[in-house]
Amino acid sequence: MKHFIVRTLLRLYPASWRREYGVELADLLLARTLTAGTFANVLRNGLWQRLRAAEPSTLVGFAMLLVMLNGFVWNIIAPPRFGSGSSLLLQYFWGSNLYVELLVGCGVWTYLRYGGKLSRSGKAAMRITFLAGVPSMLAGVLMLSGFLSVIVVGRWDTPTTFHEHGFAYTYYDAQVRSCWIRVQEPTGTLKSIQSTACPPAPLGILVAPLFALPASWLWGMVGGLLGRWIARTRRPVSA
């Protein structure tokens, strides 16, 4: 059992690190009593080594994922009308120059660090977009499976607050907007009616981040080209 736990703990470390120090750390752990403190210590340091070994695009991608997740959470618990900076950040970040600069910057960084083919820079930028899109895709899956219901709140929706049982409740009056939906009548025929319940299509939310991948690849390639130019200008001129 102890061998299994030690082997599992070592899996937290990157393969290159394990090749160098894995045997030694395993022997050290097997020679000691595995306490919760030791377990936590190895876990924390393993994750740290993985973070150190990760590619820049993976780190940036995970940071973006956290930004997006933070935006989603704030959109749910404090919609933009209440001045949530994070939800506004989520809305503006995707369409901002900063996002494009981030992809190009990662392309430059990847080329300067690893060299080789330009496509590596493109793939790095795609990785960022994919990771940043994970919360959105997860929301799509939850909507498709019926676990999540999304109501879109726009600037025309007015919040109303009322007090009941010692709590303050806020709801949004979304009656201004409407859309056509198809409903089945008792006779079995389908009929189009105007409804105020207009949630975004779950499948659309699920695949939307994937449509951003080709553009990200191109921006990454632009970064790669820039990186190649920088690398050439830095190279000393031979006699």
Binding site: E24, N45, W48
Partner: protein, 104 residues
């Protein structure tokens, strides 16, 4: 993330490992026991190897080919110089602090 077990420069895992290796090459387990004996600090196995990784990368220590699975680590000349400088700086700070604490 080699978290320091206690606060203060004397509990820095890298400094403790370098001090332990000053008396000769040792493998991981021996370093751990030695640090516990001379400094009273218990380094976690993860903390120990994170610090060893960093010291090897900085070329302050170097692994030697051992007979068993545990490789002994040896202080390099650069490591010895760095350790001497750090300890001297600590000694200067400690001396000044103690002198000022002494009643006039």
């Amino acid at each position: 993330m080699a978290r320091k077990p206690k606060t203060g420069p004397a509990s820095d895992p890298e400094l403790l490992i370098l001090s332990s290796l000053a008396s000769g090459p040792k493998h991981g387990y021996a370093i751990m026991s030695d640090v516990e004996t001379f400094a009273g600090v218990t380094l976690g196995p993860g903390t120990l190897y994170t610090a060893i990784t960093r010291l090897v990368e900085k070329k302050l220590i170097v692994p030697q080919s051992g007979a068993g699975r545990q490789r002994p680590y040896k202080l390099t000349a650069e490591g010895a110089t760095g350790l001497t400088e750090q300890l001297n700086a600590m000694r200067r700070v400690a001396a000044a602090g103690l002198r000022r604490l002494r009643p006039a």
